[in-house]
Structure formats: structure tokens, C-alpha cells
Amino acid sequence: MTTLEIKQAVKRYPNGALAVKGVDVTVEDGELVVFVGPSGCGKSTLLRMVAGLESVTEGEIVLDGRLVNEVEPANRNIAMVFQNYALYPHMSVYKNLAYGLKNRGTPKAEIDAKVREAAKLLQIGDFLERKPSQLSGGQRQRVAMGRAIVRDPAIFLFDEPLSNLDAKLRNQMRLEIKRLQRRLGTAAIYVTHDQVEAMTLADRIVVLNNGEIEQIGTPAQVYGAPASTFVASFIGAPPMNLLKAQTGDGAIVIGESRIEAPVRANGPVTLGIRPERAHLANGSGGADGPPMKVDTVEELGAVRLIHGSVGGQHFTANQSADEPIPGDQVRLRLQADDLHLFDHGTGRRL
């Protein structure tokens, strides 16, 4: 079953800014969909249209089979977790959690049971009488989650909920959000600009760019077969190498060197190679790929990054720390499966 359908959604702000340009997304029951993209690409706008915090200029938002374009946020059966938590500063944690239920006329005993259950789930039971100002960032984050959980909504909406936390807490909470969402079995949309968060959390990723969808797919699909150079360079760290190349006669030509590959294209293309799929061979150690000139080596512990150039274009390769540190000149060893070809002009995958 489908929880949410966004059909041809368009958002034009009163000042004329076109933030969302005709977007189709569906969220299935229990699915966690991540909207990812650079700052300003329209992720929050799209999410807020689902929440009812922004009006829908064109298109339809259908939640549980009901068209909700004109429905007030409180009557949409959604719950949202905001980036800065947006807790009610004058209310205790308990009241923060209870507020939404109280306004829906839930009986007191039921409110109490739900609040305590959510508090237990999120380990904030000890803080119920505290004000938000007496909590740490991580605790506030939990309260914000609790406020969403007690409502038992059709869908959770998260807008960069972890971006105000330090790196360690962020990783911990990320895992916790995923567990919680699985356990509750509630559909969710999670907005982030962090591709690592997107990859680790998502059942499906929606990559947005400039108000439009670049690609929708599972993390594996988006990583393994990026639909455009934009997706290729946005998902994965360090980003995919993108080289100007020529194709023809069953080969790809970068600068002076040829790679034999079964290509149909003919003419200029953009060739994408993930750093972790570019294997290096010292000197002429059996590799027949294009030569790479090495200029900087970065040690990251388990792996190291080799920066340099291929055919005069910047190139980064990824190497296990067990392998020997390469010299100034190496050759790349490439597999045909690891080569991504994109249209030279549009950047779309060929």
C-alpha cells in the first residue's frame, strides 16, 4: 500500500522563487525515503508542502488516499521533527509530548500511557518534568522525536534533525532513528544534505537538484548507477572522478590512452570512475590502464587517498592502507563494469 503520493508538485514562493518544479514521489507503507541534495535545492520546501506548512502551488499531495492540499497541518495525520527541535520552551518535557494529544481530545489516562511509553523508548523518562532549556542538545532531539512518536502519525517528516548535533552523537542518533522507524513500522521522509546519512538511512533515496528530481532509487542503485553526473558527484565520498573523454570504435580515449570497452556511444562523453574502483599498479606492474601522475597522498587510517591527474585532469584514487604507497607514476587498472558514461552535454547517464 502507498502512504503518500506527491504528484507533479510545484512550489512558487510569493517572491517568485520557483523552489519545486513538478516533482513526483511516492512513499510506500513503512518505507523510509530520504530527500537529499545540496542546500537550497528545495528539499525542505517539498517536505513542508507535505506537512501543510507551505501551500501547494500546483499538483497534489495525497496522504493515505486522501487529497490533503487544503487540509490544515494539524488535521493531516503527520508528525514533524524540526532541525532546531522547536520544542515549546515554557512547557515541561511531559507537556511538550502531551500537547498534541491533549488538543485532539485524547483521554488523560491514554495520554499518560503514551507519553510514558515514548519516554521509555527514547530514554527520556528521567527528564519529564524538566524544561527544554535544562536539556542537552541530544536530549532535546529525543524530546522532539518523542513528540512525533506519541501522535502515532501516518508518516514522520524529518527536516535535517541531526544537523545541530556533534558528529559522534549524530552517528548514534542516526542509527537510533533507523531502529525506531523500523520498530514502529511507520512511513517516513527524511531530509538531509548529508549523503552519508542518506545512504545509511534510506530504503529509497530521492536526489534533488535545483527543485527537480535527479534520481530516485535504493542506495545501491543511486551509488552503483548514478543517473547523472550530478548524482555521481553528490553521492559517495570522495566523489566520483569525472573525466572528459572520447568514445568510438569500442574504446574510450582519455588524453593519450585508450580503454577497450563495449561502448555504443560515439563522440565526446564524460567518464565517471569511483575512486574506490580505480586500482593502482606501480610502474608497469601488469596494468594496462591510463597512466596517473601522483602528487599528494592522504592517509585516512584504513585507506589512503591518492590525488593526482589522469590525462591532465584531476583524479583521485582510493587504496587500502596495506598496499604499498605508489610512486610518482602509476597505471590504473580498471574494469569495464566500473566505468560510467554520461552525456557530454546534459550529464545524463548513457
Binding site: 506548512l53 527541535y85 515549546y88
Partner: protein, 293 residues
């Protein structure tokens, strides 16, 4: 950080001197003089003084016209504070809804209102003028023959309306900036949690405005008590007759019209104690002001 050091330790005091002198000449000395003369009976013609202890105080507070003035001042203060706060809040909420996220507009509106109070006061007084005042004409349509400056309640109501009218812009600015400082996210979270707009106002917005409201309440009480002298004076044109007066105005009447300097000093000392108490309350409130961050 670099600290500027004065050459001589006396220099900073020298810089403070003008301010100190002003405080001493225009505040400390008159206050001390008021306290002193409140214990004496003054002969207004020959300047002789007789020490009378607390007689001036007992006289002042037991006289029936003092009681009447105190009662009117109380009523006046309650009415003016309540309505100037209430109306300003109403206007601020309306303006806030229009202004949400529209910066330039906001600054413009603030300016207009920042300039307004003195002008508003003048206009308000003109509105009640016996000869050219449109409000007097307006009430006349309903058969209310308002005689400001002659009839007790007509004058009293006119004073309350003008005093309220004059204070609304100040309250409006504070309320508006209070409303604008409520985080957008909190309002949005509330709109998801509560379908009723008025419910959201009373459970979220109004409590978050509470610090502003407390602060304004003190300001308004002080205003109604002490700063409405001019309004009362213009309304009565210096002829109290059968008209209501505020305690501050009575100090002036008894001292300068009644030539009872001792009694008037005693009354002003009572007011000084009152304003002192208010100030203490205000400081306490500011100290305890909850900082929601």
C-alpha cells in the same frame, strides 16, 4: 583584549561629573527637600516653618479629597493599563500576521509607531476639545452631551481614553517585537499539534509573551500614575472644580494652588515610596525573567 587606561585615576570621575551633577540638582536635592518639608508647616507668605512631625502625612491621607483622588487614580490606572495593553496586543497580533517574514515593511511600521506617541497625545486631546473635538460631536449623536472639564465622569472617561490612546503605540512596539521573536519553528510545531488558532494563541503565543507583558504592565502602571500629568492638566485647563484628579496632579494642586507645601510634600513622598516599590518589583522581574533559549 586591549584596555584603554586613564592617565589619572581622577579622570573617569571627572567625566562622570556632569551626569552626577544633573542627578543631584534635579533629582536628589528636590527629593531630599520634599522629604524635609513634608515634616514642616510652611507659611507661604513669610517663609516661616514650623516642625509638625507626621501631621502632614496624617492630614493628607485622612482628607476625603485625597481618598477620592486615590480611588480615581487606582481606577484610572487599572483601566488605562488594561485597555492600552489589550488593544496594543490585539493590534500587534494583527500586524504580526501581516508582517511575518516581510522585513522592510516591519521596520517602516516600527518607525511610524516610534514617532507617534507625542503626536498621538496631542491628537487625542484635540479629539475631546469641547468646541472642535469630533469625539464630543460623535457622542452627541447618541445623546451623550459630553462636558469634558465640567462633569466628573465625562472628564474622567476622556482622560482615560486619551491616556490609553497615547500609550498604545509604545505597547504595540514591544508586543510586536515580542511576537516577532517567537521562533518560527515553535509556531509551526504548534500548528501541527493544535488545529485551533485561538487555542494556539492562548497556550503557546501568550505564555511566551508573558515576560514582555509583565514588563509592560509595570511600565504602564508607572505611566498611568506619573506620566499622565500633562493629559490631566490639558483636560482640566488648570481648573479642577468638580473634576477627577490623579494623585500626582493633586500634589501640584495642593502645593501650587492651595499653597500647602508641607501637605503636598508629604503626598509626593508617599508617591516616591510607591514608585520605589514598583521599581524594585520591576528589577526583580527582570532578574527572574525566564530566558527561553
Amino acid at each position: 583584549m586591549h584596555k584603554a587606561q586613564f592617565q589619572s585615576p581622577l579622570y573617569p570621575y571627572l567625566l562622570l561629573l556632569p551626569q552626577m551633577a544633573i542627578v543631584a540638582i534635579f533629582f536628589l536635592w528636590p527629593s531630599a527637600e520634599a522629604v524635609r518639608s513634608s515634616f514642616f508647616l510652611q507659611d507661604p507668605f513669610f517663609g516661616n516653618e514650623t516642625f509638625v512631625g507626621i501631621d502632614n502625612y496624617t492630614d493628607a491621607v485622612t482628607r476625603s479629597d485625597y481618598g477620592r483622588a486615590a480611588w480615581f487614580t487606582f481606577l484610572f490606572t487599572v483601566v488605562v493599563t488594561f485597555f492600552s495593553l489589550g488593544i496594543a496586543l490585539l493590534l500587534a497580533v494583527a500586524a504580526d500576521n501581516v508582517l511575518r517574514g516581510q522585513g522592510p515593511y516591519k521596520t517602516l511600521l516600527m518607525w511610524v509607531y516610534a514617532i507617534a506617541p507625542p503626536v498621538a497625545g496631542l491628537i487625542g486631546i484635540m479629539l475631546f476639545d469641547q468646541h472642535i473635538g469630533p469625539i464630543v460631536d460623535f457622542f452627541a449623536l447618541f445623546g451623550w452631551d459630553m462636558r469634558v472639564g465640567v462633569d466628573y465622569w465625562d472628564s474622567g472617561i476622556a482622560m482615560m481614553i486619551v491616556a490609553t490612546w497615547k500609550q498604545i503605540p509604545v505597547n504595540f512596539i514591544f508586543f510586536l517585537s515580542g511576537l516577532q521573536s517567537i521562533p518560527k519553528g515553535v509556531r509551526e510545531a504548534a500548528s501541527i499539534d493544535n488545529p485551533s488558532a485561538s487555542g494556539r494563541f492562548w497556550t503557546i503565543i501568550f505564555p511566551l509573551l508573558a515576560p514582555t507583558s509583565f514588563f509592560l504592565m509595570i511600565i504602564n502602571i508607572t505611566y498611568a500614575f506619573f506620566e499622565t500629568f500633562g493629559i490631566v492638566d490639558v483636560m482640566l485647563k488648570g481648573e479642577p472644580g468638580n473634576n477627577p484628579v490623579t494623585l500626582v496632579y493633586k500634589v501640584f494642586l495642593d502645593g501650587f494652588r492651595g499653597n500647602d507645601l508641607g501637605g503636598s510634600s508629604a503626598q509626593s513622598v508617599i508617591l516616591m515610596v510607591f514608585v520605589l516599590a514598583l521599581t524594585i518589583v520591576q528589577f526583580r522581574l527582570i532578574e527572574r525573567r525566564v530566558h527561553y533559549t
